[in-house]
């Protein structure tokens, strides 16, 4: 068992749950409220220095009663030590957790992936969007156990939706705001976007009469 577990208990007390060793890796459970503080402490405290976030992922068990787990795989480059920190999220609660992007920038895409695949939202994430699935994906969260291997919709419905995607929907509103491209869209595209799944088109300000 990694000595960091004892240090964590001394510092955070009841926020630290049970710890065990599996296949030589130390795993420690942390209360969901304290997770960002615990990880920041592990990263910045001399003697711990878990400065490298190896991986961030989530696990759902086949046993439907068991809570979801968010897994932070940590490594200390200086001390060559490993620690796996886990947070349990009961399924009947809101699946929400503090983002650790302020601690590690590398958590950005990893948290987006967990959100995309498991539907766990990260509070304070700068840009929490789906990443591997497209933004308008409506079938749910693929790595959840209640998600069928082939998706929720029938094959024909999936094909129909894929064929009905408008090319302009491949740009997010934020991207269209670059160069004010949203203003320059043809009227029919703007109309489709307005009814589309990408959010609302910013209204064009009233036309000023042109110079001539």
């Amino acid at each position: 068992m990694s000595p960091s577990v004892g240090a964590l208990r001394a510092r955070f007390g009841r926020a630290i749950g049970r710890a065990f060793v599996s296949c030589g890796d130390t795993v420690v459970f942390v209360d969901r409220v304290a997770i960002r503080d615990v990880l920041r402490w592990l990263k910045e405290t001399p003697g711990q220095e878990f400065n490298y976030l190896v991986d961030l992922t989530a696990v759902e068990y086949r046993d439907g009663e068991r809570p979801l787990e968010v897994v932070y795989e940590l490594f200390s480059l200086g001390r060559r030590a490993q620690l796996r920190v886990k947070v349990q999220l009961a399924k009947e609660t809101t699946l929400e957790l503090d983002s650790v992007v302020p601690v590690w920038r590398g958590a950005d895409w990893l948290e987006r992936e967990v959100y995309d695949m498991f539907g766990i939202a990260f509070r304070g994430h700068p840009d929490l969007r789906r990443i591997l699935m497209w933004e308008t994906y409506a079938e749910g969260f693929p790595l959840r156990k209640d998600f069928p291997l082939r998706g929720r919709f029938s094959r024909s419905e999936q094909v129909r939706q894929a064929l009905n995607i408008h090319p302009e929907a491949h740009y997010s509103m934020e991207e269209l705001s670059i160069a004010e491209a949203a203003q320059d869209l043809p009227a029919d595209m703007r109309e489709r976007l307005r009814h589309g799944e990408r959010g609302t088109v910013p209204e064009r300000p009233p036309e000023e009469p042109d110079g001539d």
């Binding site: 296949c23 490298y52 795989e73 934020e174 670059i178």
Partner: protein
């Protein structure tokens, strides 16, 4: 907000314009009213879309770029076009059945993915592999690293405008592919390992041919060195481009040559050794500037070091079995399964039920060509994992692209993107 104006140029040479004025004016002189002095030409940033089908994006990567003139203000990468749901598929398969899926993630170094998966499953099950198997796996890993870096070097040189090194590196890659094909029967979908051993031993003549290759390869490497390393254009296009400091690289969870080029000497083979890498004599090259040029130098030196490791592995390759002696894990030989009752039962149970793993979880990282590849298994005691997680080095390295490309020129964005060494099969999984 200023509305957009259009400025009309009269290009005709005779006659009068719409307002009745003669248009015998030098070409390009605007005929707009003189009070229009608040003209806003090019006041907006430009939106550029690169990909998903573009040779310089190395697969189906899409970049939405905001440009101010030629300077990149912001890059918004879009990934997922090649998403195949490997992690989900893995939950429906036995551990050995997952191995073909790993071929298809990082398809530029399939053998080391196979090795990593077998190692992760063996860690979970507590299996100790044979010595010959270890050395063969080291050979497989280093061959994969060589292939991966050779592809990287060739394609990056093309992206930056040098075509010739591509031919040389792909020639050498083809030679390794021939060896790989002789060993596994496949060029890409190798599925080389099994939990507890290997799919096949190396064929006759393999070691001699690989030795021969190791002797010849440095000559090609020297040629590439002569063409690129001190080439003025190459240096101008790569030096000081896409710089990441060591701290930033760690903060972005970068790994592999990307991390080492920024001066952080973290190599899984040295820091979390596996397969007896601590007993091989090799160096880990580390850069100091963290730019595209240092990434090139780091990968270049890794090619030499991998060749060294290969030679040492060939020297020490022991005789003996490649599989563990455990009928619950390793399939019996076909002849035994067809004639011996006990062997047939083991064969049946393995094929129908798979190899059961104890309750627990294991994360196993290896140093792949792209960076730290890790497989994380969670088992509930059945023959299929509850969760199979790929720690994808390309995906995590690519996440730093917007940071690296900020303020660079559009042409540098191509060089920076090439330097990350992504494989979209692994980014999207």
């Amino acid at each position: 907000m200023a509305t957009k104006r259009t400025v009309e140029f009269e290009l005709a040479t005779t006659g009068a314009d719409a307002r009745g004025r003669p248009i015998r004016l030098p070409l390009g002189v605007a005929t707009a009213e003189p009070e229009d002095d608040d003209l806003d030409l090019g006041g907006h940033n430009m939106l550029i879309n690169i990909g998903p089908q573009h040779p310089a994006t190395h697969g189906v990567l899409r970049l939405v770029v905001e440009l101010d003139g030629e300077v990149v203000v912001r890059v918004i990468p879009h990934v997922g076009y090649l998403h195949s749901g490997f992690e989900k598929l893995g939950e429906y398969r036995h551990y050995n059945q997952i191995i073909p899926l790993t071929d298809r993630t990082d398809y530029l170094s399939p053998m080391s993915n196979n090795v990593a998966l077998a190692l992760a499953a063996e860690k979970l099950m507590g299996i100790e592999i044979t010595e010959r198997c270890r050395v063969l796996r080291v050979i497989a890993c280093e061959m994969s690293r060589l292939i991966s870096h050779l592809v990287w070097m060739g394609t990056t040189a093309i992206d930056i405008g040098a075509f010739t090194p591509f031919l040389w590196t792909f020639y050498e890659r083809e030679r390794i592919y021939n060896l790989q094909e002789a060993w596994t029967g496949a060029r890409l979908t190798t599925s080389l390992t099994r939990v507890g051993g290997m799919m096949a031993d190396v064929p006759d003549g393999f070691t001699e041919n690989l030795r021969q290759w190791c002797r010849n390869f440095p000559k090609t490497l020297d040629e590439v060195d002569r063409v690129l390393t001190r080439n003025g254009i190459w240096c101008a296009r790569t030096q000081g481009v896409g710089v990441l400091t060591g701290e930033e690289a760690i903060n972005f969870s970068m790994s592999g040559p990307m991390l080492r080029a920024s001066g952080v000497a973290y190599d899984v083979r040295k820091d979390r050794p596996y397969l007896g890498y601590e007993t091989y004599d090799f160096n880990v090259p580390v850069g100091e500037h963290g730019d595209v040029y240092d990434r090139y130098l780091v990968r270049f030196e890794e090619l030499r070091q991998s060749t060294r490791i290969l030679e040492q592995a060939l020297d020490r390759l022991p005789d003996g079995p490649i599989n563990v002696d455990d009928p619950r894990v390793i399939l019996p030989p076909k002849s035994a399964a067809m004639s011996d009752m006990e062997a047939m039962i083991f064969h049946f149970k393995q094929v129908m039920e798979g190899v059961k793993a104890p309750v627990g979880e294991a994360y196993f990282p290896v140093e792949n060509g792209k960076g730290e590849l890790g497989y994380y298994f969670v088992s509930d005691g059945t023959a299929k994992p509850v969760r199979w997680r790929i720690r994808p080095p390309s995906f995590i390295n690519l996440a730093a692209l917007p940071k690296m490309a900020e303020g660079a020129l559009l042409s540098d964005l191509i060089a920076i993107n090439a330097s990350v060494d992504i494989v979209m099969g692994e980014v999207d999984r």
